[in-house]
Structure formats: C-alpha cells, structure tokens
Subunit: 258 residues, 2 copies
DNA sequence: CTCCCTGCTTCCGACCACCGGAAGCGATCG
DNA sequence: CGATCGCTTCCGGTGGTCGGAAGCAGGGAG
C-alpha cells in the first residue's frame, strides 16, 4: 500500500476483511474504536474503511453510532452453499420430524474438527439451548458430532480422538472408549449422547447420505435432543432415518453429482 | 491505488466489494471470467482480489473452479439484525401458526419499496412458492406488503401507489382503489390478497407492533398463504394476531428501546 | 497426433491512492 | 468551565496496486 504504513506488506483488501472479521457472535454491534482495537489497526484507517463498507451496504450504522452487519451481507450469506443447497432442501424434513415428536431437531455438517449447526427447529424452548444455527460444537460430545466423526477422514478423527475436551462431567474423554463408540456408530448407523455436552439432555442422530459415483457419502447429520428424563429415545431413530433418507434423495436430485 | 489504472478514482475496497456484488440469487456460482464481466473489471485484477477473498474465507472455490460464497460470509450474515433480532425471536411463533394451520407462514419487513421476506415456514409445498427467505416482492400485491405499506411513511406509500406493477390479471393497479384498500387495512388491522401476486393463492397478513417511547411501531408483517379454493381465510386472522402480539412482546423485551 | 481456442495463472515496472499522525470537533462528566 | 473521550477531517510521502503481456493447461476439432 502506501504512506507511512506501520504494518507494511498488508493489503488493503485484507484490512477491509479484518474490519468485517471484528464482528462475531459475541460482538455483533461495535463502535469505531472497538473495531479498531479488535482488528489491531489505527483508528483512522478503520474509520475510512468503515465508510466504504457502510456505503456499499456491507455494514450499517445504528442510531447510536455503532456498526452492525448490513442487509447486503445478509443477502450474500443466503447464497452460501450450506444455505442454498442443504438448508433449503432439509428444512421441510426437519419440520416433519418436529411435528411428529415436538422435540428440538437439528442438522449439522462437519467443518474441520467441529460440528457446524446449519438448521434447527424447536418450538418454545423446553430444553436449554446450546446449539444455534451457525454455532460450532465439538464432534465427540454431541450425537450429530459422533455421526460426523464416524464418517470423517482418518486424520481428522485421529486429531479429535487424541485430545477430546471435557464439556460436562459425563463427556467421554478416554480415547479408547471414544474409538469403540465411533466404531459402534458405524455399525449401528446412529449415535447417541447422554448429558455429554449439556446436562439434562439426551440426544440421538443419524447420518444423511447422498449417492455419489464413488458410493454413498455422509454429507450431514440429523439429530434430535430431548430432556434426560425421557426413556424412549431409541424409538426416535426410525423417524430420523426416514427424514434423513428423504433429505439424501432430494439432495441427490438437486445436485446430480458434486 | 496505483499503476496504469484505467478507472482511476476507484478504491481498492470498492473493487473487492464489486467482486462480492457479482454474486446474486440468479448467479450464486461464478467463474473468474464471469465475475470479471459482471463487475466490469479487468480479469487480472479480479483474479488477484478473488485470491484474497478466498484466502480469508469470504468466498470458496468449488472443485470445478468456480467460486461461491464461503462459510465466513454465511457466518457474518447470521449476525445481521434481521436475523439476530427479528428472525430468532419470531421463528417459534411462525412455527406455532404453522402447526395450528398447516399452511405456509411468513414474516416480512419493509425495505425501501419492497417487502423483504425474512422468515418462512412451509411444509411440503402444497402451494407454489413465490416467496423465499431473502426475496423481495412488491408492497401492493402481497398481503404482508399491504400491511407494511399501510404503515410506511407518506413519501414511500406515495411512490408505490403512483406506479403499481401488474403481477397477475388480478393485481390491483388503480391508485385510487389501492389507496382505499390501504385505508381499510389501517382500519381493520389486517390485509388480504386474492391471486394478486400469484394465481391460485389467497393470503392474509397482520402487522407486528413493538411498543416504542413514541408509541407503537409496525416493524414487520406476519402473513399466511393458502390455496385459493379455501373459503375460511378470515378465520386465520385471530391466529395471526395472537402470534404477532407474541412476537411484538418478545421484541420489546429483547431490545428495550430502538 | 498437432493445432487452435478458451480460460486461468504468473510476472513485473510505473505510478497514484492509501496510510495514519496530528489537529479539530462535539458531547459528556466532574 | 476545563478535562476527557470518541469520532471526523486533513494532507504529504511512498510502497502497494494495476493490468497488459506472456505463459500454461485442458479440451475439442481436424
């Protein structure tokens, strides 16, 4: 760039993106000086970039002077493949499961070593919410996570199993036991958890498979969460399976391959 | 910027944003040369910017070489106020209405002279879909639109009423008749349409109000769409009203003012 | 097999848009 | 009323950026 840059070698674009990167779930509304701090850039520079981003509609300014994500970025986000392909196809099926069971249903994909929650249907909150659309939870402590873990490439599974975090006192952190559990998920075709991520809840999940030239591939996991006093958890597995197959079939139709 | 720029005076940031702006609903996956064309920039320049945007995660590259919106932009989109405040609060209420009626329910806000659809719940499609989350439809031809129009500032309403587009053969395009209809919406507290936007469907909608220091403000519209052979449309108004009040109350609690 | 075409990637020198400290401004607080 | 805090405006020196040209890869025609 130019001028007496104190951090030479940094492109303008990367700075603009750093401004956007200052926003996250914990900080969705930020003032100029907060953004400058979070992005580690001079206040003046941030000010100029904010002007351009706001003009375009990437950000917008609130009456109180803070900035927040603008409509234009919301629009763009709707074009992301998770949203456009997976969510739109899956949403009606999640609704079906919810209608049949009245419990919280959600759909997740694997992103690196986390389960990324892509869609969620829940009525008035009967169970405390740990997962929200867009949140990432560990693969080894959730039912959807275990399903995704069982289908993950060897190196990812290895990395997760080596150092599992403890989320509650029931989280399985013994690599050997986790490994056996994952093997069982593969064999049985579903995964379950009992208060391993949040106390007071049980969960089951099944894989969503899509037929590919190279054989079926697990592209997502469909799970349901219930309060832990429920005893009939496994009764839900067939319901989930029906929905998961429906999603898989629709996906295969929507995107012939790839 | 620098170099033998053929369009001097254009900032780097605006170019990066122009690349993002090349993506829209009709073109969610683009190749390098398509983006260059759509953004009216030299191929080389676009190539460089794409590299940076992809590295950051704003875009991602598909196996076939095209680009699409990346996870990181999807994430940011989730932080937009429509999503974070309105949608999240409203979703359970839409679900309730859907459960009670089995019809397609949606929530829209006014954006300029359009109704922007913010959330939608529909089971397996019984009615052809014109509205999707993120789509914009005219204010004068949809039930949610009429509700929003009835609450819009005078200049906006004036502009819409002056030149209403014809969507179907039932669309009301006579300014005088539209004006009377809007007045009636204000009086009765709900709006309806009969095949004015898409043939074969009827719709009713009610306003979602939030208490403000300056009195109640209409922040959104809640509507329901049914096939046109249904005769009991107005029976749905009280159901919508209950849900709309619930949403309004939750919103007021979530954002004490503003 | 070779040639041509299309679309993407790499290279690099001239140049001007960008950087950010400094100063100004308006609101809030003690 | 002076001090402080946060935002906005100003402006000169310079290194990041621009984009034509050339190289490369893949695929289709002859």
């Amino acid at each position: 760039m130019a001028g007496r840059s104190s951090t030479p070698g940094r492109s303008v674009t990367s700075r603009a993106l750093a401004v956007l990167g200052a926003f996250d779930t914990g900080a969705p509304r930020l003032s100029l000086s907060e953004i400058a701090e979070r992005s580690a850039m001079p206040l003046t520079t941030v000010h100029r970039l904010l002007g351009e981003l706001t003009d375009w509609g990437a950000l917008q300014r609130r009456p109180d002077g803070r900035y927040e994500i603008g409509r234009r970025l919301w629009d763009l986000g709707l074009l992301a493949p998770v949203q456009l392909e997976l969510r739109q196809v899956a949403a009606p099926f999640l609704l079906d499961v919810h209608t049949a069971t009245r419990d919280t249903v959600h759909l997740a994909v694997r992103e690196g070593r986390s389960a990324l929650y892509v869609e969620r249907v829940s009525g008035r909150e009967s169970v405390p919410v740990v997962s929200q659309v867009g949140s990432r939870l560990p693969l080894h402590a959730t039912a959807v996570g275990k399903v995704l873990l069982a289908a993950a490439p060897e190196d990812v599974a290895e990395a997760v199993l080596r150092a599992p975090t403890r989320e509650t006192r029931h989280t399985i952190v013994d690599p050997g036991r986790l490994r056996r559990e994952i093997a069982e998920v593969r064999r049985r075709g579903y995964a379950r958890t009992a208060e391993e991520m949040s106390l007071g809840t049980l969960s089951v999940a099944v894989p969503v498979r899509v037929e590919r030239p190279a054989g079926p591939a697990v592209v997502a996991a469909l799970g349901i969460v219930v309060p832990s006093h429920r005893r009939d958890l496994l009764r839900l597995v067939p319901v989930l399976e029906v929905a998961a197959r429906g999603i898989g079939r629709e996906l295969a139709r929507a995107q012939p391959f790839h």
